[in-house]
Amino acid sequence: MIEVTGLTVRYGGVTSLDNMSLTFEQGTCGLIGPNGAGKTTFFNVLSGFVRPATGTVRAFGVDLLSMAHFRRARWGVRRTFQTEQAIEELSVFDNVAMVHEHSKLGAAARKKDVLDAIEFTGLAAVSPGAKVRTLTAGQRRLVEVARAVVGRPRLVLLDEPAAGLPEQETSHLADVIRGIPEHTGALAILVDHDMSLVSACCATTAVLDFGRLIASGPTAAVLRNDDVIRAYLGVA
């Protein structure tokens, strides 16, 4: 569970998040909105890349904003990026194992956990020793997801994971994303422009527009909301 109250982020004169408050309870939640609505900024605040001007963020009772960014990641705030950031020259295994560099687990337990995460994303057919540069775009996305779900995450932030993927790979990705809460116990937040993906993965969805929350609730109801249609989805 994550509670955000009064979050404001300004870049110079631009207000990216404007006194935004929202709550995500559990499972996989959607976060949608037009470009520039503040979705990625919100993720950047959660993962500590951006410091908000005002506001509080409590995740599972913990004040997130008081933690340094790398500590948040170790505590369990994990994310993928809009432009995929799997590390090319490292192997699939090492990309995922990065998260365990500072964990207290023993070597065997780490290895098992990493291989579990790789298998969970459906990447097991690729040798864990394969360098990421030899993988396809879709497989790289999965490496990123594996890195986000390994080692007991609490909050998994997925920033447009399906961007640029063909339909078939997107449907596989949907299966993976849907499975994240059950597999890891984490709350997952999905940002994407693919409404069928959001509908398929998320029971609840929140909508941002110009840095403000304009709707939230069950995904199906949100997608029928007049404000949402006007601001983002457009009239079919």
């Binding site: 790398f70 590390i87 192997s91 459906g122 990447l123 097991a124």
Partner: protein, 354 residues
């Protein structure tokens, strides 16, 4: 879709020691034995001194390679760091009777502390701005050294006495007072520094550096303290360069601030890029370019100033055709040439009788 992807269970994760690795280890061993035992026998004193300098500067280019190649930080102040190491070592060598290895470690550690102090504010910057700051730092050190001077056996904090007539040389270790012996000593110190870097690259810092270089956001998102690891790289590079300064002090006996001009930092970065920043061989190639080539040209009566032009072209060549440097390109090209020649021999040219 998912079924086809899951199917197989994971195969080997870490590679066992393979044949190419064994061959590489054998090649390295043979080369080292040759360098340590055969080279001092066949080279004249002129070239032995040159090769000592190569050993010294291979440590400096190694440090630069760690920063540029492993972490993606560009430092244009490495000559100043070298000068600090040489200064500290010379000061300690004159003032104390401590054994040489201990002094090298101390020079390394003190230089490291200085490097970290510079690094603390500088590491908030990247790319061009970090390069500029380090260049300014090098300039400042040059000015300070020109005023303070290198220790020449005097007393006080600076250890400089301008009125000395008979300036004593910086001492060498008693086991390595002759030039060939000191050459071997330098090579062994350089080997230790290469092993130190290898130990870093193969373990946690190396993986963290690779992550930082390729994607700092990804590194942060995986919980890596990028700031700490960047500072660590800076500290390691300063330590190694400081040790190199200590070896240099004994090699040249007399140190002058004009031997550490700021612009040499730029040339050093150029040869480091030419040699190749992604492998440790690159550091050796770079040091040969930087020290051996000018000595060779001098010996032939050609002005070494031509090298500046050559290095300029070299960097252009490397950056456009071989980002991994000569240490990567030349073996590949040789292998290609070998295959080509073998192909020619096996398959006679058309028209020949058989």
């Amino acid at each position: 879709m998912r079924d086809t992807l899951i199917r197989a269970t994971p195969r080997r994760v870490r590679q066992e020691t393979s044949r190419p690795q064994l061959i590489r280890a054998a090649v390295v061993t043979v080369l080292l034995l040759f360098t340590l035992f055969a080279l001092p026998q066949i080279l004249s004193l002129y070239y032995i001194d040159t090769m000592t300098q190569v050993a010294v500067y291979s440590m400096v280019t190694l440090a630069l390679g760690v920063l540029a190649g492993r972490v993606g930080l560009v430092s244009l102040g490495q000559v100043a760091v070298l000068a600090i190491g040489a200064w500290v070592a010379a000061r300690l060598l004159f003032e104390t009777t401590q054994p040489y290895p201990l002094i090298l470690v101390e020079a390394g550690l003190i230089t490291m502390a200085a490097g970290v102090l510079i690094g603390l504010p500088a590491l908030r910057l990247r790319g061009l701005y970090l390069a500029l700051i380090t260049l300014m730092f090098a300039g400042a050190i040059t000015v300070v050294l020109a005023t303070v001077n290198f220790p020449n056996g005097g007393h006080g904090f600076t250890g400089y006495n301008g009125s000395l007539v008979h300036i004593p040389p910086v001492r060498r270790p008693s086991i390595a007072s002759s030039d060939p012996a000191y050459f071997r000593y330098s090579v062994i110190v350089a080997i230790l520094m290469f092993l130190l870097v290898l130990a870093h690259i193969k373990t946690r810092p190396g993986r963290a550096w690779a992550a930082i270089r390729q994607s700092e956001p990804a590194a942060l998102a995986a919980g890596i303290n990028t700031w700490l690891y960047k500072l660590w790289a800076f500290a390691l590079a300063s330590f190694i360069t400081g040790v190199a300064g200590g070896v240099l002090a004994g090699a040249v006996h007399y140190l002058y601030s004009i031997d550490f001009p700021t612009q040499d930092s730029i040339t050093l970065l150029a040869v480091t890029l030419m040699g190749g920043v992604y492998s440790m061989w690159g550091a050796v190639v770079a040091a040969l370019l930087y020290q051996f080539l000018p000595a060779l040209l001098n010996n032939w009566g050609v002005s070494a100033d031509w090298l500046i032009i050559l290095f300029g072209l070299g960097v252009l060549q490397v950056l456009t055709t071989a980002p991994a440097g000569l240490a990567d390109q030349v073996p590949k090209d040789l292998a290609r040439l070998g295959r080509l020649l073998r192909g020619r021999l096996r398959r006679p040219a058309p028209g020949s009788t058989e």
